[in-house]
């Protein structure tokens, strides 16, 4: 191995790493991919929804053999208080198109498939190998890696850091900062197994159709957070995540939060009788545009979660990871094809391709959203869900109270909780952050 030099080394076999390795290997580059897990996917955790368009740009015929669970035809957004939920629901038969827009996946299975494609494209994939250090020359250019497998250095023209949100290599090499507690959410998730027909029946689904529930409210106990329930073929992924800074301040336990969510009257009937087969935890980048680090340097690029690429508003992460991996791979290929060295100046191509893509455009659009939700978490995650629930119940419960009195009571409750100026201010702040 010491004699060999690679065009590129990719660290990590998640969505970003696989996309980068596949893109480069399929264009003829000599690629080595290193993964610390026993198999690709064994360290990876996601909700998980996979968006077709971003994968089609890498493997157009992925539907032929990728392990997909259900295609999504329905999405519910719920605002919850302790006993109720009020929400929005969209379901359309349009999503039963032949080339489905998005699917639920099980990452351990999906990543194994993606990794097989990477190998078939010609990359060398080594699992059970933890990269311990980036090797640099006297000018500071990254020239390879050191692993815990042998003491020898493995050389490459460029290293793609696809090491995930908690990647140690890039931060320890001073290429980017360790994420701050207010910029990452801790999410916990369980896999609940139920017969396929029970899931179909409970969610009104047939033939691989899937449904998603995403919920906010008192379930996060005043912390900025979101809970989710995704239908897989024979299982339900259910979880909840809140900012690490909020967890530290409140000392809430993530597993207790998840138990409460599972026992909420709106949720418990959906998962009743299920068999739990796994409990997982993972960090999610939540800092948005302002938390994106330098994306490239001399001999290196960073992609996916390691680059904090996650759209928290739309809950999109894996498609940003895949796209950044693909663009990094394409940029590296173009630099190589031009016979140019992998310097900072030449790898800036990756950044300019990213700037033109939806990834950076979307994150820039919501650049003020993380700060808004973090500083107003009690209002957005407790006060408003409770007020909305009261308003809905006031509207629906029929008794002898005149309707005008009910409306006045509802308005008074909102003003008492947030004041007129507070309500207007929250609306304006939200509108500006959304814009």
């Amino acid at each position: 191995m010491t004699e060999e030099k690679f065009d590129a080394i990719v660290i990590g076999a998640g969505m970003a790493g696989n996309a980068a390795a596949y893109t480069m290997a399929s264009r003829g580059l000599k690629v080595l991919q290193l993964e610390r897990g026993e198999y690709p996917g064994s360290k990876n955790v996601q909700g998980a929804i996979m968006y077709s368009n971003m994968l089609e740009k890498i493997i157009p015929d992925f539907r032929d053999d990728a392990p997909l669970e259900r295609h999504l035809i329905e999405q519910r957004f719920w605002m919850m208080d302790d006993t109720s939920h009020i929400g929005m629901q969209y379901r359309s038969d349009d999503f039963n198109e032949s080339r489905h827009n998005r699917y639920t996946v099980i990452r351990a299975q999906f990543d194994k498939w993606f990794s097989r494609k990477v190998r078939e494209a010609g990359a060398t994939v080594l699992c059970e190998t933890t990269v311990t250090e980036l090797a640099r020359d006297s000018d500071g250019k990254v020239i390879g890696v050191l692993t815990d497998r042998t003491g020898d250095m493995i050389l490459a023209d460029v290293v793609v850091l696809a090491e995930g949100v908690n990647g140690l290599l890039g931060t320890r090499a001073g290429l980017r900062e360790t994420p701050k507690p207010q910029n990452v959410a801790l999410a916990v998730k369980e896999m609940h197994f139920l017969p396929e027909e029970v899931i179909d029946q409970r969610f009104g689904l047939k033939a691989n159709e899937g449904c998603v529930i995403e919920a906010a409210g008192t379930i996060s106990r005043s912390m900025a957070g979101l809970a989710f329930l995704y239908t897989n073929k024979e299982s339900i992924s259910i979880g909840i995540g809140c900012l690490v800074s909020d967890f530290a301040a409140t000392m809430e336990s993530p597993y207790e939060l998840l138990e409460s969510f599972k026992n909420h009257p709106s949720i418990r009937t959906l998962i009743a009788g299920s068999e739990v087969k796994e409990y997982a935890a993972h960090l999610i980048p939540e800092g948005g545009y302002r938390a994106i680090p330098q994306l490239f340097g001399n001999g290196w690029v960073v992609v996916g979660d390691a680059a904090q690429l996650n759209n928290a508003v739309h809950r999109e992460g894996s498609n940003l990871a895949m796209t950044s991996g693909r663009l990094a791979g394409e940029a590296i290929f173009l630099v190589k094809k031009g016979g140019r060295p992998m310097t900072k100046e030449n790898l800036a191509l990756y950044k300019s391709m990213m700037d033109k893509s939806f990834v950076i455009k979307d994150l820039r659009k919501y650049k003020d959203m993380p700060a808004l939700l973090h500083t107003n978490s009690r209002n957005f995650f407790t006060t408003y869900p409770q007020l909305l629930s009261q308003a809905a119940q006031n509207f629906m419960r029929v008794d002898s109270t005149p309707k005008l009195d009910k409306e006045r009571a509802t308005t008074a409750a909102f003003i008492k909780a947030r004041s007129r100026w507070g309500l207007v201010g929250d609306a304006v702040r939200l509108a500006f952050a959304w814009r």
Partner: protein, 99 residues
Amino acid sequence: MTIAVTNLRVEDKLYQNRYVVDSGRPHIKVRPHKWPSANLFALTSVCPAKCYELNDNGQVEITADGCMECGTCRILCEASGEIEWNYPRGGYGVLFKFG
């Protein structure tokens, strides 16, 4: 069909997971301390695998066997030097069957 959702203890939840424990080589260590900082103390509730516990002397101890390698403790306590954080050796640690 029952409507009950069983409340699971963390220990029972972790029992569902697959681990290859690197015996005698814990990947996270808590540095000796007199009193834990607020963040280090918070880990006794916030660690999703309940790896951190308070001992009789009021110090925080870690048993990293059930660790899911999420990195929450690193984000909260590495900068202050209270913990030393590394990934397990290649192939060791948690192995998600579904992920």
